[in-house]
């Protein structure tokens, strides 16, 4: 079951959904539109190895925007801090960004229940695209859970700004908690 827009507003009022800052104008019939934050990170290396911590460079998006190169992966973030202990958030692009060939996440659209962050967005442009800070870039839906809930306590908890991959941790102790 997916929450409707009015239910997102109600649950936000009850404190079971956190969206900060929250603006009722950004509520859709069954989702909430989020904004692009100011910082973007790119990897220094072209060749990426998930076993090795990858160095990054941070870029502040200028007032006149930033043009994304289709050959790079960009880590951006939501302006809002979002999360819920009761509903599972799932990230989607907006139709208007998708129609420019801009992916707002790569492959991983599920946000863990109990994770409160500015969410890291994985931006990939099929063709060069200009992005602006504060633009409405994606939307989030909220889904009901079946069964007893256990909350996220993993590696990206509390993140502010874009966070690069920590996949190398999976190789340090492959039998350990896979979160």
């Amino acid at each position: 079951m997916i929450l409707t827009g009015p239910e997102i507003i109600r649950q936000h009022g009850l404190g079971t959904i956190r969206i900060d800052p929250f603006n009722v104008d950004q509520v859709n019939p069954n989702s909430y539109n989020f904004r692009l934050g100011r910082t973007v990170k790119v990897y220094k290396n072209e060749l990426l190895d998930p076993k090795v911590k990858q160095p990054t460079v941070s870029i502040d998006i200028p007032d006149d925007g930033l043009v994304l190169d289709s050959a790079r992966i960009y880590l951006a973030h939501t302006e809002e801090v979002m999360g819920s202990d009761r509903f599972v958030p799932i990230i989607h692009g907006r139709s208007s960004t998708a129609r420019m060939g801009l992916f707002v996440h790569i492959t991983a659209d599920l946000i863990d229940i109990g994770s409160y962050n500015q969410w890291t967005l994985q931006l990939h442009a099929v063709q060069p695209v200009r992005i602006f800070r504060g633009m409405l870039i994606g939307q989030v839906t909220f889904w009901c859970v079946e069964g007893e809930i256990s909350l996220y306590s993993g590696r990206y908890q509390g993140a502010m700004g874009p966070r690069e991959s920590e996949s190398y941790r999976d190789f340090e102790n492959p039998e350990a908690e896979a979160m």
């Binding site: 990426l48 996440h105 079946e146 069964g147």
Partner: protein, 168 residues
């Protein structure tokens, strides 16, 4: 409704969800982290009318380099399925943050028999992948209505399998 970690664990024990091999440490709050299998093929032609002749090779333990602009087919290490819930399959956040797509657009599975699932891999920047690395997550969803099971051609395969238009 999406199943919680406790509910996934309960249904694996009850046998209505198959994940094999199963490791409870790979459970997340509402998903299960799966591993990359051992075999991979690079797509040589994207014409569905042409026969498939892509060579399936075993990945080197030292890693395999993927290049942008190419499509690779690999598979899950685990045998996965459910005759009760719907499985969706995605990449892990840590993998998406490296620009590796683990599924292209088609993330929805069918209710039905368990098998190793084919993964569609494509990357934004060159990236090395390793057999058995944690690469994606599975979510499980409750259904409503009478169940009809998938009996299409792909269930017969547990290796990276290309387009099967000619068989369907």
């Amino acid at each position: 409704m999406i199943l919680s970690r406790a509910e996934i664990d309960r249904r694996v024990a009850a046998g209505s969800i198959t994940i094999s091999p199963y490791c409870p440490a790979q459970l997340n709050p509402t998903s299960y982290s799966y591993r990359l299998g051992l075999e991979i093929s690079e797509l040589s032609s994207s014409d569905p009318a042409a026969g498939r002749s892509d060579a399936v090779v075993e990945m080197d333990e030292a890693g395999m380099l993927l290049q942008p602009g190419r499509l690779y087919l690999s598979h899950t290490y685990e045998v996965i399925g459910s005759r009760e819930c719907v499985v969706t399959l995605m990449g892990r956040p840590s993998i998406g943050r490296l620009g590796l797509f683990v599924q292209l657009s088609a993330d929805l599975g069918n209710v039905g028999d368990a098998h190793r699932w084919t993964l569609e891999l494509t990357c934004v920047q060159p990236i090395v992948i390793y057999p058995r690395m944690l690469i994606g997550e599975l979510t499980f969803w409750e259904t409503r209505g009478e169940l009809a099971y998938y009996s299409g051609p792909y269930t017969r395969f547990s290796r990276p399998t290309g387009n099967m238009r000619e068989l369907s």
